[in-house]
Symmetry: C2
Subunit: 555 residues, 2 copies
C-alpha cells in the first residue's frame, strides 16, 4: 500500500458511519404523505412508517433481541417486511430473510445456521414452523404475523401478534450509531450442490448499493427510470436479495410503495391498475405468467416499467410484453452481489437511430456495469479476456456491495473470492461498447466438439417460434462430441408441432449466419411444463438429472 | 458503542475502497462520445479525457510528485483543471486548488501552509508567482498552463508546458488502491478574521458527495434536475469547493461538459447558446451580471437550469431570471461541507396547487437536506430548537462529506466541531415541512432591542422595489437599541429615489404583517457599487468597517 496523506480528525468531529437508519432521514420531509400500501388491506403514510419502525424496534427489544443477534422473518411481501428491513438492522441486529420456498429441512438448516433468536412468522407458515420447532437450536421467541388480528391455534409459544405488539409499544426508539461494517442482513442461496449458503450484507454495503442504484436508475436519462414520483411494487420476493434492494431505494426517495403479499396474478394486476403502479421488477417466469393472463389483455399496462432479472429475458417474451405497452429493461446480478451489477442503458445512438429490433436486442442484454462496478471476463486459467464482443469467459466483479464471504464456510468463500475477484459463475461476452451479454451459467454451458455453446442462446432463438411458449436447453452426454444440446419445449395452448418443424425453424438462423449448425439441438422433447427452481428459474440441474436419459432416447 | 455482528471477510476478498478513480469507470462505456469543451478552443471526448488523465499522472510522477504530497493548481475553469481533479487524487497525491482571487500574501501563505510541491500555473498568474517565488518554502517544480503553446519569458524554472508534457507522457498509469480516508483535495477559506483556513476532503467523502448529489439531482422528480443528457457548465470557480463537486458528478454521468475559462459575460453567454448548455450553478452576483447583460435579452435561455448558492437569492433577481425563462433552484452549503447540504425540492403540493409567487418563494429558500444530511438548529446555549418555522438558530450538521478539521488548526477545528456537530455559523429556521430558510450569517444578524433581525430578510424585501438593483443591510451601533439596521442601495440605471420612498415601500410590508416596524432601516445610503468579497458575496465586514460612520451620519 502506498503512503498517502491521512489526517487525524478534530477531537470532537463526527465520523459519519453509513448506516441503514440514515436512509430514513429524507422520508419525513420530501413527500411524507406518500403511502405504503399492503394489498387491499392497509395503507399509511411515511410518518406512520417511521413511527411503526420505532414501535417495532421497541417490540423486538422487549422480546429480548440484542444488537448482534439475528431476527428471522417468514412472510410474503408485506408492509411488515418493509418495517423489518429497517427496524432490525437499525437496532444493530441482523435480519434473516428466510427463503420460505426452500424445503422443510433446508429452512431448518438455515434458521439454525444463521442462529436466529427471534422469529416473525406469517400464520400461513405455522404448520411448517411447528414441524421444525423442536429442532430449532437458537430460536426461542416467536411473533405472529397475521392479516387478521385473530390468533390461530398453535403450540408455538408466541409472545403476541405483530399489530397488537406494535400498538402497545413506545413510539420512540433511540437507534444507536455503530460500525458501518456491522452485518445488517443475511439470507441463503441454493442452486448448486450442498447445503444452502449464507450471504450477508453490511450497513455500508446496503447504503452504497442504495445510492449507486438510485443514481443509476435516476440520473442516467434513458428508458425505464425509477424516480421519486413513481409507484413501486416488488414482484421478486423480499426474502430474495431484499427484493433486489429496491425497497431501500424507494424508501429513501419516499415513493409510494405497494406490497402485494403472496403473488397471485389477479391481485397483482388489480394492484397494478388500482394503485397506478409504474415500476416493478421480476423474473421472466412471473412476467410470462402475467403477460399470459387473460386479464392482461383487458387492462392498460403502458405506464408500467419493469426490470427483468434472475435469468435471461427471451426476446419472444420481451416482444409480447412490448406489445402490451410494458417498458422493459434487464438487470444482472446475483444473491452474492446485493444484487445489482449491470442494468440496461439504451445509448443515445440506439434511441435516436436504432431499429425497433435493435432496441429489443439491447433491452434483453444485461446492459452496462453501474457506477463503481468493475467487471472482467476471465478464461479457465484466470486470464483476463478482451471486451471485443467475441471472447467469452466467466464474469468476475468488484463492487462496494459484494458479500465478503459465505457465512461460516471458509472453503467456499475462498473459491468465491479467488484472486480477489468475486466469481459469478456466469459466462458472458462484453462488446466494444461495454454491453454485457450473459451467454450461460458456467455449469450450463454445453461443451460440444471442443466449442462452448450457450444453452441460453439456443433457448432464445427457439422461443421466437410462434408456437413455442417456453423452452429449456441442456447438454446431454454424447460419445463423439462430449455433449450435445437437447431441448424441452412447451407449446402454446392450441398449437402443435413436429420435431422437424422446429429444426427447420432453427436451420433458418444457420442460413442467416446467426448460429452454426451444431447449435441445433439433436434431441427435442415436447412437455407440459418445464421444471423450475423455487425462485422460478429453469431448474437445469433437475432437468439434467431426470431427463438426460429421455433426451438420449428421443429424436 | 454497542456490540454488533462484524464478520471477517474471506482471505482473498476485495475490500473495495471508495476512491475517486472509481468514478471514471462508467465514463468509457455510457456515452464516451460526449465531449469536454474548453471555450472555443478545445474539444475532446471521454476516451481522450481518460487518456489525458493517465498522461497527466505520468507527467506529475516524472516531475517528482509522490503519493501524500500536494500539487497546486492556479488556473481558471479549464479542461486542464478537470484533468487535475482526477489525476492528482488518483495518484494518491493531494490537489490544492489555489484561490487565485486572494491577495498575494494570502496565496503565499496558503501555498506554504498546504506544503505544495508541484505547481501548475496559468501564464496569467506568472507575475504573481514570480513575485512570491523566493518565499515559497516547499514548491520547487513548476508546470506552465497556457492556451497557446508558446512559453512566455519568465524566471520561474518551468519543467515544461502542460500540453507538451502530456504529449510526451505514456498513455497508461497504474493508479493504485489505497485507504479511502486519504486526503484528495485541500483549499482555503477566508471570510472571518485571521489567516485563511485549509479545509480538506478525502476520497471517501468526494465519492459519497458525488453519489448523494447525483441521486438528489437525478432521482427526485421535480424541477431543475441534472442528468446524463444535460450539458454542464460551471460558473462557480473550480478552486471554490471543486465547483460545488458538480464536475465529479458530471464526469461520473458522462455528460457533455463546457469549461468557460475566465468568466466573461460575453463568452459565458456565447458558450451557453453555442454548446446548448442546460445546467450551471453560480452565486447571485454572477446571475445578476448575466441577467443584466444586454445580450441576455437577445438569446433564448429557457433551456438553462441553474442552482444558485453561496449567498441568498433575492426574490427580485429570481423573478428577473424567471422572466427570461431561466429555471432556478437554490442550494445551501459552504467550503467546510464539500459543499452540498440542502437543495430546493418543490413538493407535489406546490407544483400542482401552488401560486407562481409561492413557487418563487420555495425556489429561493434553501430547500431540504439531501440524503444522508442531518440538520439541526441550536440556540446560543447549544439547545436543539424545534423545526416549527418560527424558531431561529444556528444550523449545525452531520453528513459523510464534512471536513474533519481545519488543516493544522487545532483550536479552530475544535470550535468548528463543537459537541460533534459541524457549526455552520448560519442562522436559519426550518418549517414544519422541512424547508430550510437561511436568515443570516450568525455574525451578520442585527441585534436590536433584544430581538434578532435578519439582514437578509430586509435586503430581500428592499430588492423588490422596482428601482432597486442591489441592496446590502448591516447593523450599526446604536446607543438605545444596541444595533439598528442601515442599508446601502444601488439603483437601476436611469432610476432615482428619495430615502422616504423606500421607507414608505418598506412600510407597506409592515402593514401586510410581513415585518415589524423596527425592521425598516433607520439609515439609507445610495451608492454606485456594493463592496464584494473575492467570491462575489456582499462583504459586510468591509461595509461595517468602512461605512458604519457614514450610516450613522445619514438619515
Amino acid at each position: 500500500m502506498i503512503h498517502t496523506k491521512i489526517l487525524p480528525p478534530a477531537a470532537s468531529a463526527y465520523e459519519y458511519p453509513l448506516l441503514v437508519k440514515n436512509l430514513l432521514l429524507t422520508t419525513l420531509h420530501y413527500e411524507p404523505d406518500n403511502e405504503i400500501v399492503y394489498r387491499d388491506r392497509i395503507r399509511y403514510d411515511y410518518r406512520k412508517l417511521n413511527e411503526r419502525i420505532h414501535r417495532l424496534a421497541n417490540t423486538l427489544a422487549a422480546a429480548g433481541l440484542q444488537p448482534g443477534e439475528t431476527a428471522a422473518v417468514l412472510d410474503w411481501d408485506t408492509h411488515r417486511y418493509l418495517e423489518c428491513f429497517f427496524a432490525v438492522p437499525m437496532m444493530g441486529a441482523v435480519l434473516h430473510t428466510v427463503n420460505i420456498r426452500l424445503s422443510r429441512e433446508q429452512i431448518l438448516y438455515t434458521m439454525n445456521h444463521a442462529e436466529d433468536k427471534v422469529v416473525l412468522v406469517n400464520a400461513e407458515f405455522l404448520p411448517l414452523l411447528e414441524s421444525i420447532k423442536d429442532e430449532l437450536t437458537t430460536a426461542k421467541t416467536f411473533i405472529l404475523l397475521h392479516d387478521d388480528n385473530t390468533v390461530p391455534s398453535t403450540n408455538l409459544p408466541f409472545i403476541g401478534e405483530y399489530e397488537a405488539l406494535l400498538a402497545a409499544a413506545p413510539t420512540y426508539y433511540n437507534f444507536p450509531d455503530f460500525d458501518e461494517n456491522s452485518v445488517a442482513t443475511i439470507f441463503y442461496t441454493t442452486g448448486t450442490t450442498g447445503s444452502p449458503k449464507g450471504v450477508y450484507f453490511t450497513h455500508r454495503q446496503l447504503v452504497l448499493h442504495t445510492l449507486a442504484g438510485s443514481t443509476t436508475l435516476g440520473s442516467y436519462e434513458t428508458t425505464v427510470r425509477f424516480r421519486s414520483n413513481d409507484v413501486y411494487m416488488p414482484i421478486t420476493p423480499m426474502f430474495h436479495v431484499h427484493a433486489w434492494g429496491i425497497p431501500y431505494i424507494a424508501t429513501m426517495l419516499g415513493t409510494k410503495q405497494v406490497y402485494p403479499g403472496k403473488y397471485e396474478p389477479e391481485m397483482l394486476l388489480k394492484l397494478l391498475i388500482q394503485e397506478k403502479v409504474t415500476f416493478s421488477h421480476c423474473v421472466p417466469t412471473i412476467l410470462h405468467m402475467l403477460v399470459s393472463s387473460p386479464l392482461a389483455q383487458t387492462v392498460d399496462l403502458s405506464q408500467w416499467k419493469v426490470i427483468i432479472g434472475g435469468s435471461a429475458l427471451p426476446k419472444g417474451l420481451a416482444q409480447a410484453a412490448a406489445d402490451l405497452g410494458i417498458q422493459l429493461i434487464t438487470g444482472y446480478g446475483m444473491s452474492e452481489t446485493c444484487p445489482i451489477l449491470t442494468l440496461t442503458y439504451l445509448k443515445e445512438r440506439i434511441l435516436s437511430r436504432g431499429t425497433p429490433e435493435e432496441e429489443i436486442t439491447y433491452r434483453t442484454k444485461a446492459g452496462l456495469p453501474i457506477p463503481l462496478v468493475q467487471l472482467r471476463l476471465i478464461d479457465e486459467e484466470g486470464k483476463v479476456l478482451p471486451h471485443d464482443g467475441v471472447s467469452t469467459g466467466e464474469i468476475v466483479v468488484r463492487a462496494p456491495w459484494l458479500t465478503q464471504s459465505y457465512f461460516k464456510e471458509t472453503a467456499l468463500s475462498d473459491q468465491l473470492w479467488q484472486d480477489g475477484w468475486l466469481h459469478t459463475g456466469d459466462v458472458a461476452s462484453v462488446n466494444l461498447e461495454g454491453y454485457v451479454q450473459i451467454s450461460d451459467r458456467l455449469k450450463d454451458v454445453i461443451k460440444t466438439g471442443g466449442e462452448w455453446v450457450s444453452s441460453l442462446e439456443i433457448e432464445n432463438l427457439m422461443s421466437q417460434h410462434e408456437a413455442v411458449s417456453e423452452v429449456a436447453v441442456i447438454g446431454f452426454p454424447d460419445e463423439r462430441w462430449g455433449e450435445r444440446p437437447g431441448a424441452l419445449v412447451v407449446l402454446k395452448p392450441g398449437c402443435h408441432m413436429a420435431v422437424a418443424d422446429i429444426k427447420t425453424f432453427m436451420y433458418g438462423f444457420v442460413q442467416q449466419g446467426k448460429i452454426n449448425e451444431w447449435y441445433i439441438p439433436d434431441r427435442i422433447i415436447f412437455t407440459q411444463a418445464i421444471p423450475k427452481t423455487i425462485v422460478g428459474k429453469i431448474d437445469k440441474k433437475r432437468i439434467r438429472a431426470e431427463m438426460a436419459a429421455t433426451l438420449q432416447r428421443a429424436m
